[in-house]
C-alpha cells in the first residue's frame, strides 16, 4: 500500500458499510483550535528547521504565533463560547506549563485536549523508538497532571510522525490519530496491539494554508460552507466527518474573526449536525462500525490478499 506500510486496507467510498451517527446526524463536526507554542530558540533538528527565514531567533515568526496566545485565543474563545462549541483543542502540551490561564480556560469548558506534542518546534521524525515511547508517557502524564483528563488522541507535533507512531500511540493507550487525511470517515489503522482509528483532520479546511496562500477570510468562509454542503448532502446516506482546523494567531485576528462567526452560524444552523469531539467520534465508530469496516476491507481486498 502507499501509506506507511500495512496500516490501512483499501476501502472505496462507493462500496463500504454505512455509518450512522447519533440522532441521525449526517455530519460529525469536530472543531480543532491549534493551541501552540513555537520556541524562541528551539533545539536543532537535523531534518527540519522550524524557523527557516533567518538565523534563530526569528522574532517576527515567533511573535506572529505568540500573538495567538496573548490575544487571538481570547478573541476566538468569546466566539466559540457564544456558539457553545465543544472544541477538541490540538494542544502543544507545554502550553499548560507556560500559560496556565489558557489551560484553565480550555479545561473549564470541558474541551477535549488532543495532544499536538509538547512544542510545535519539537518533531517526532528524529526520535528513536525509546524516545518516542517516552514522549507518549510524558504527554499522558502532563495532561493528567494539569486537567485530570485521559489523553485519547494526537495530531503529531507540526504533523511530524515516524513509521512506528501508530503502534506506539496504541501501546500508550491512545485511541485516535488525526494525521490521516485520506478519508471523510474514521478508518481502522492496523497496529501491533489494541485498536487505533483515524479521525480525519484537514489541511485544506485549515486556516494556515488558506491564509498563507493569499486567500482571505471570504474565501475561507466560502470553502468551509461548500465543504459542509457536500458532506451534508452525502451524509444523508452514510455519516461523514468534517474537521475545521483553526489557529488563534490567524483566525483570532480582528479582520478574520467575523469569518468564524459566519462559519459557526452556518454550520451549527443545520439540524442534522453532531458537533462532537474527536474522541466521541472515534468511540462511536469503534463501538458501532469498526468491525464491519475491517470485515468489508477484507472482501474488497480479498483477491489481492489471497494472491
Amino acid at each position: 500500500m502507499p501509506l506507511p506500510p500495512h496500516r490501512v486496507d483499501y476501502l472505496p467510498m462507493a462500496d463500504r458499510p454505512n455509518i450512522s451517527w447519533p440522532n441521525e446526524a449526517r455530519v460529525a463536526l469536530w472543531i480543532a483550535p491549534n493551541v501552540e507554542h513555537y520556541e524562541y530558540l528551539p533545539p536543532r533538528d537535523p531534518n527540519r528547521n522550524p524557523w527557516p527565514r533567518s538565523p534563530h531567533p526569528d522574532v517576527q515568526g515567533y511573535s506572529h504565533r505568540d500573538y495567538g496566545n496573548r490575544v487571538g485565543f481570547w478573541r476566538m474563545l468569546d466566539v466559540l463560547d457564544q456558539y457553545d462549541v465543544k472544541c477538541t483543542a490540538s494542544t502543544n502540551l507545554a502550553v499548560f506549563d507556560h500559560y496556565p490561564d489558557i489551560g484553565t480556560a480550555m479545561a473549564d469548558r470541558g474541551w477535549e485536549i488532543m495532544s499536538h506534542g509538547i512544542y510545535n518546534t519539537r518533531y517526532l521524525s528524529s526520535l528513536t523508538e525509546e524516545e518516542e515511547r517516552n514522549f507518549y508517557l510524558e504527554c499522558v502524564e502532563t495532561l493528567r497532571r494539569h486537567t485530570g483528563q485521559q489523553l485519547r488522541g494526537m495530531l503529531g507535533p507540526a504533523v511530524s510522525n515516524t513509521i512506528r507512531t501508530p503502534d506506539l500511540m496504541a501501546d500508550a493507550g491512545l485511541t485516535y490519530h488525526a494525521d490521516w487525511l485520506h478519508d471523510d470517515q474514521p478508518i481502522p489503522i492496523q497496529v501491533d496491539n489494541g485498536r487505533l482509528v483515524s479521525v480525519p483532520y484537514s489541511i485544506e479546511l485549515n486556516d494556515v494554508p488558506v491564509f498563507l496562500h493569499h486567500h482571505d477570510t471570504a474565501d475561507f468562509v466560502e470553502m468551509v460552507k461548500a465543504q459542509f454542503d457536500t458532506l451534508y448532502e452525502e451524509g444523508a446516506s452514510s455519516g461523514r466527518v468534517m474537521a475545521l482546523a483553526l489557529h488563534p494567531y490567524l483566525m483570532g485576528m480582528p479582520h478574520r474573526i467575523e469569518g468564524l462567526e459566519e462559519i459557526l452560524e452556518y454550520l451549527l444552523g443545520h439540524d442534522l449536525v453532531w458537533q462532537a469531539t474527536a474522541s466521541e467520534i472515534a468511540d462511536h465508530f469503534i463501538e458501532h462500525h469498526y468491525e464491519e469496516f475491517v470485515q468489508h476491507s477484507k472482501t474488497i481486498n480479498g483477491m489481492r490478499n489471497a494472491g
Binding site: 483499501y10 462500496d15 461548500a226 452525502e234
Partner: protein
C-alpha cells in the same frame, strides 16, 4: 543538445505548424469542440527506491516534511478512496466521457478500482509505474524502455485491454520518451500541452499522435501551483470552453480537462467543477469524447496527408 538557431523546432519529435495555416480540422459529427476529461490516478510510494526520481516539491500535503510524510501521502490517497467517485459521478451527470491515466502501482494495489473504472466505461491509459518514479533523462534508455513496457503490460493484464494512450508520471519525459512509447505500441501521448488540436509526432520507431492537455486549467496547475481561487478557476474553464467552441467553427478544437481526485475530488472543490460543467454543456454541438475517440478521428482526418 542546445538549439542551433536553425529553422523549426530544436528537437526531432514534430515539425512547427502554425494553427492558421493548417487544413481546417473537422470532427466526424461536424461539432466545433470535442470535450473530455482526463483523470489522473497517481500513486506516491511512502518509500520510493533509492535511485527513483520524484518532483522536488510534489503537490499535496502541507510543506515538504521529513519521511514518512503522512500528511502528503494520505492527502494523495484521498483521491483513490473518496475523491475519484465524486469526479466520476459529476462527469457522468454531465455526460462527459472519462479517460483515466492509471499508474502501475495503482493498478497493482487497487484492483477493485480498475474493475470499477471499466464498469463505468472509462478508457484507461498508461501512466508509468508511480508518481514517485519519474521517467527522466537521468536514467538509461534500457531502464526507461523497461519502465514503459512493464507499466503498459501490467495495465493490460489488470484491465484486459492494451492501453492506447499515455501520460507520463507528473508529465515528465526524457528526450527518448516519444520514440520508446511508439516502440511500445502506444498511439497517443498527452505530455505536451502546446496546442488546441491533436498533431502528429514522428519517431524512429513510428508515428504517434500528441493529444495536448490544457495546462492553465489543469486543476493542479491552477489550484495548487498558482493557488487561483475556485471562482476564478470556474471562470477560466467556462471562458476557455466558450472561446474554443467559437474558434472551433472554423477549425475544430478539443478540450481535455485534467483532474486529480485528491484535489478536485475534495468536497468543497467538486461543486465548482459541477457548476463549470453545467455552463459548458449548454453549448450546442459538443462532441463528448474519450482520448482515443479524438485521436482516432484525428487520424482518420489526417489520413492521406
Amino acid at each position: 543538445m542546445p538549439a542551433d538557431r536553425s529553422l523549426g523546432m530544436d528537437h526531432p519529435h514534430y515539425g512547427y505548424s502554425p494553427l492558421p495555416d493548417r487544413k481546417p480540422l473537422t470532427w466526424p459529427g461536424g461539432e466545433p469542440l470535442a470535450l473530455g476529461a482526463l483523470i489522473l490516478l497517481e500513486h506516491y510510494e511512502w518509500e520510493p527506491p533509492p535511485d527513483a526520481y520524484s518532483l522536488r516539491n510534489p503537490s499535496g500535503g502541507l510543506i515538504k516534511l521529513p519521511a514518512p510524510d503522512y500528511v502528503h501521502l494520505t492527502h494523495r490517497e484521498y483521491g483513490h478512496r473518496v475523491g475519484i467517485f465524486r469526479l466520476l459521478d459529476t462527469l457522468e451527470r454531465h455526460n462527459v466521457p472519462v479517460t483515466v491515466a492509471v499508474d502501475q502501482l495503482t493498478a497493482m494495489h487497487y484492483p477493485w478500482l480498475v474493475d470499477h473504472l471499466q464498469t463505468r466505461e472509462c478508457e484507461l491509459i498508461g501512466h508509468g509505474i508511480a508518481a514517485s518514479r519519474l521517467i527522466t533523462s537521468k536514467m538509461t534508455e534500457e531502464s526507461e524502455a523497461e519502465m514503459i513496457d512493464e507499466s503498459l503490460d501490467f495495465l493490460e493484464q489488470a484491465s484486459g485491454q492494451r492501453p492506447q494512450g499515455w501520460f507520463s508520471p507528473e508529465g515528465v519525459e526524457s528526450s527518448r520518451t516519444p520514440a520508446l512509447l511508439a516502440a511500445a505500441g502506444v498511439r497517443y501521448v498527452c505530455d505536451w500541452p502546446n496546442d488546441e488540436q491533436p498533431y502528429k509526432m514522428t519517431t524512429p520507431a513510428g508515428d504517434l499522435v500528441s493529444l495536448p492537455l490544457f495546462l492553465e486549467i489543469d486543476d493542479e496547475f491552477a489550484l495548487w501551483q498558482r493557488r487561483a481561487s475556485l471562482n476564478s478557476w470556474e471562470k477560466m474553464i467556462v471562458s476557455a470552453a466558450n472561446r474554443l467552441h467559437a474558434d472551433g467553427q472554423t477549425s475544430a478544437r478539443h478540450l481535455m480537462l485534467t483532474l486529480r481526485p485528491w484535489l478536485t475530488g475534495q468536497p468543497f472543490r467538486i461543486r465548482v467543477l459541477d457548476r463549470a460543467l453545467s455552463e459548458i454543456v449548454k453549448l450546442q454541438d459538443i462532441w463528448a469524447a474519450r482520448g482515443r475517440d479524438i485521436v482516432e478521428a484525428f487520424t482518420d482526418f489526417s489520413a492521406g496527408d
